[in-house]
């Protein structure tokens, strides 16, 4: 059986960043696996700009950001496989792969999960109506348009105000399709504010909040939809329903970390993030298996994805060089937080970057760090939004005060 020190699954932003950093720090025995016929991941189809502001202090388009990383990766001569799919992976890190040369196994010391996310589908949310052609996820329509050069429809409605949906509203308008509107079941948008302004308001595309699609009509092709306001329990109120004629419905109703492979390796998943449970080194519950990027939790900025890949590279160096078994302290989210990452903190960590999301928009709030029922730090927070991931850097001074029963809580002032 072939052996590799580090096997990285996924050649998108997370996997590339991890591979580059590993190689730069002297790890040579790396193999990166990519299922598509080129590197770069989903950014390849995100031809809009706005990438790289956090990490590079410069604005790139998706393909530019991807190419930057691909060029560095190629320059370093890191081995990789294209058109290669992971069929199986065991807890002991034996990975079964399939590519046009055949099926083969690799024994790895370390595996990095960097497979990204998939889009939530119509079936996942159960939108009723006809099953005719004309309903796609926004990312799929984006692929048809930006990669292949084809439009999927002419009169389009978008369900869900996730960032991909908003970006597509603008993109489709520029491609001479008519975007009739965007509906969001929540009372607030789920996309970044800049995307609401630049993609909807600038093009006079209406955003219907607290609204969902209760019926997709069609016979062979989508002909229209019924929209309906929802109550505070997200239940449709039939008396508020109205019809719109469209030939296409795009869904932008969220991303789900793609953890089919992770589950095969017996990696424990967090029901909140839908990604692996990790410690502050981003190692999963299976020793030697790490996770970064959208497979771990959904990001709104690619910069954070790259940074996570780099953090995993650092952690792998430590993991390979030290045979330590540090004490792990669990940490959990409370109050107005939907999750906090990592799920456990190593007692040996020097600094830890906490990542969290709020579960509702908040103008002002207090973030508390609680250890053993004692509040050890408070941080005032303003303008918090579920669509924007927040971070909190814990210094060694704070970490040494943290004992057990750790809680991060966000409450109203």
């Amino acid at each position: 059986m072939k052996q590799n020190k580090v096997l990285i699954i996924g050649g998108g932003s997370a996997g590339l960043a991890c591979a580059i950093k590993l190689k730069e720090q002297g790890i040579d025995d790396i193999l990166l696996i990519e299922k598509e016929n080129e590197l770069g991941g989903i950014l390849k189809q995100c031809i809009h700009n706005g990438f790289g502001l956090t990490l590079y202090k410069q604005e790139y388009t998706g393909p530019m950001y991807a190419q930057l990383n691909i060029d560095r990766f190629m320059a370093l001569g890191i081995p990789f496989l294209l058109n290669a799919t992971v069929l199986d992976i065991t807890e002991s890190k034996v990975v079964t792969l399939c590519d046009p040369s055949g099926i083969f196994e690799i024994q790895a010391n370390v595996v990095v999960l960097a497979m990204g996310a998939r889009e939530r589908t119509r079936g996942n949310i159960g939108t009723p109506g006809n099953r005719c052609v004309g309903v796609w996820t926004a990312g799929n329509a984006q692929k048809y348009l930006n990669m292949d050069g084809y439009l999927v429809g002419k009169r389009i409605f978008i369900l869900g105000s996730g960032d991909i949906g908003l970006i597509m509203a603008r993109r489709l308008t520029l491609a001479k399709a008519t975007v009739v509107g965007v509906a969001e079941i929540m009372p607030y948008s789920n996309g970044l504010n800049r995307n609401i302004v630049q993609c909807l308001l600038d093009y006079d595309i209406p955003l219907y909040l607290s609204t969902t699609i209760t019926k997709i009509k069609g016979d062979g092709r989508v002909e229209g939809i019924t929209l309906c306001k929802v109550d505070e329990n997200r239940q449709p109120m039939p008396e508020t329903s109205f019809d719109i004629e469209v030939d296409t419905v795009l869904l932008s109703v969220g991303l789900i970390p793609d953890n089919v492979i992770s589950e095969k390796a017996m990696v424990e998943l967090d029901p909140k993030t839908k990604g692996p449970k990790v410690n502050s080194q981003l190692m999963t519950t299976v020793p030697g298996i790490f996770a970064c990027g959208n497979v771990l939790h959904i990001h709104d900025l690619v910069d954070h994805v790259s940074m996570e890949g780099m953090l995993v590279a650092d952690s792998i160096l430590t993991y390979l060089n030290h045979d330590t078994d540090p004490k792990m302290i669990p940490i959990r989210a409370q109050g107005a937080l939907s999750y906090v990452l990592p799920q456990t903190i190593s007692s040996e960590s020097k600094t830890v970057l906490l990542k969290y999301r709020v579960n509702k928009p908040m103008k002002k709030g207090i973030l508390k760090l609680i250890s053993n029922d004692q509040v050890i730090m408070t941080f005032p927070k303003v303008d918090l939004h579920p669509s924007e991931m927040q971070t909190l850097q814990l210094s060694q001074a704070i970490l040494c005060k943290m004992d057990y029963n750790l809680v991060v809580e966000l409450c109203d002032e």
Partner: protein, 475 residues
């Protein structure tokens, strides 16, 4: 001039075509959709019922038990996966147990094996069974099958054996004389006998041959939820509530591929092609499924669908010969289970006396089994011969480029994304085509030699891509 024209390539038409292809008769199958098996046969529970349920003396009673017993051999011969997982007919109270006992007697009388299980035995064999269930009747021979897998195997073999298949041709006119002339928008065809297997259009097509044909089909729509394959171990058997006048009730079914089906409800509809899912229908399924199993959350579902079942007013199959025009209509549940016996019945009762066909020895066409079901050695041998077998295009279901190409070029051919999905599964997994649909478009375009904007999703009017250049030219 054909000996026989079969109108409709659903599971009944396909069984009919296959059965007749083992004789020396010349046969034409006319299908109005682009793809075979596109209506009732692609949207039902996929169960081979044992035959305890139909009323004594009916065609359903005669053909269901007989058909069910034919499946094992037929599936083995054509290499179609059949999962004999058994079923539990459940009871929630003493009165229902009494009903179970009545059914047990009826089943034993029909020589269908079954066994009564108490509450503990139910829990043990089916851990996620609804807590309110206190007993169940266990039928070990109830089986689960994907109807289109059976149908494709039948029609591929029929085509291989010389049956002609014309798709995208709705029948618009029938003239009867010493031969029968069947007309579609493309051509007119003549045959000595015609078999009307046109499912949801059964009564309409019957009236083309006989304008005052009196029967109108009773159409019942059923809605379903489909779970991800990851839930396969959640269920071991097919779970039935007690049957009522409305039908067999909301069931929990495990498919051959490991997805679970929850449904169907039953609503009378007027439009045979009303296969919309509805908020009320799905809510009903979600509620009633609780009678048989501890429910799963919506996030575990990957799809909803609805199918219309063409029942007859008498609730029995209609199989009748009107002077060389044979109606095989009103085939609702247990139509799938009965289908091999229906085809045999039509042959024996109506065709043998008229056309005296002679059996012909035919070799069996077996479509290569999915690579995902093969050993690594078997897969490697194929990949060595053709590297395209190593290029995975659908991750959810582990399907390679060449398997899609093979499906396109199988004897009965496949021309649409929906057909590919049924033939070899890309698009039926958790991403529902999000990752693979564009790749399938690519393969269809290459293998059929057509531009992407001509690639069909379903029927002939379902191409969906507009090239960007075309958009800018119009300016």
């Amino acid at each position: 001039m054909f000996d026989i024209i079969i109108i409709g390539a659903g599971i009944i038409g396909c069984q009919m075509a296959y059965t007749l292809s083992l004789t020396d008769l010349s046969v034409l199958v006319i299908e109005k959709n682009t793809e075979v098996l596109n209506e009732v046969s692609s949207a039902n529970s996929g169960i081979i019922h044992t035959g305890y349920d139909p009323k004594e003396g009916t065609l359903k009673a005669l053909l269901n038990a007989k058909g069910a017993r034919m499946y094992r051999d037929l599936c083995e011969k054509l290499q179609v996966p059949l999962m004999e997982c058994g079923s539990l007919l459940v009871a929630h109270n003493d009165q229902e147990i009494e009903t179970l006992q009545g059914i047990m007697d009826k089943a034993e009388h029909r020589k269908i094996s079954c066994e009564m299980l108490d509450q503990n035995a139910c829990r043990k064999t089916e851990p996620n069974i609804a807590p309110s269930i206190i007993a169940a009747l266990y039928f070990p021979t109830t089986a689960s099958i994907l109807p289109w897998q059976m149908g494709y195997a039948l029609i591929d073999n029929a085509c291989q054996n010389g049956v002609k298949l014309h798709t995208s041709e709705p029948v618009i006119k029938v003239e009867r004389g010493c031969v029968i002339t069947v007309t579609t928008p493309k051509a007119s065809y003549q045959a000595k006998m015609v078999i009307n297997c046109s499912g949801l259009s059964g009564d309409k097509v019957a009236r083309l041959a006989e304008p005052d044909y009196p029967i109108t089909l009773r159409l019942k729509k059923g809605e379903y939820q489909v779970t991800d394959k990851t839930e396969a171990s959640y269920l071991n058997h097919i779970l039935f509530p007690l049957p009522t006048d409305k039908g067999k009730g909301v069931l929990a079914v495990k498919t051959v591929e490991g997805n679970l089906l929850f449904g169907p409800n039953s609503t009378l509809v007027k439009d045979p092609f009303d296969n919309d899912t509805t908020p009320d229908g799905l809510a009903e399924v979600n509620e009633k499924i609780k009678d048989v199993i501890i429910p799963l959350p919506q996030s575990r579902m990957i799809r909803q669908f609805a199918g219309v079942r063409p029942g007859s007013p008498t609730n029995d199959f209609i199989i009748e010969n009107h002077d060389h025009w044979i109606n095989v209509i009103g085939i609702d549940s247990p139509g799938l289970a009965s289908s091999p016996a229906i085809a045999q019945y039509v042959l024996d009762e109506f065709i043998v006396p008229t056309l005296n066909p002679q059996p012909v020895e035919r070799s069996v066409y077996v479509h290569q089994k999915p690579l995902s079901m093969m050993t690594h050695d078997q897969r490697n041998a194929l990949i060595k011969k053709n590297p395209e077998y190593g290029k995975i295009v659908c991750l959810c279901e582990d399907v390679s480029y060449q398997e899609v190409a093979d499906a396109i070029h199988s004897p009965a051919q496949t021309k649409s994304i929906k057909g590919i999905k049924r033939r070899c599964r890309p698009g039926s997994g958790r991403c529902q085509g999000g990752f693979c649909e564009a790749k399938i478009v690519d393969i269809l375009s290459k293998e059929l030699g057509i531009p992407k904007e001509k690639v069909l999703y379903d029927n002939d009017d379902s191409a969906f891509l507009t090239p960007m250049e075309a958009l800018y030219e119009t300016k």
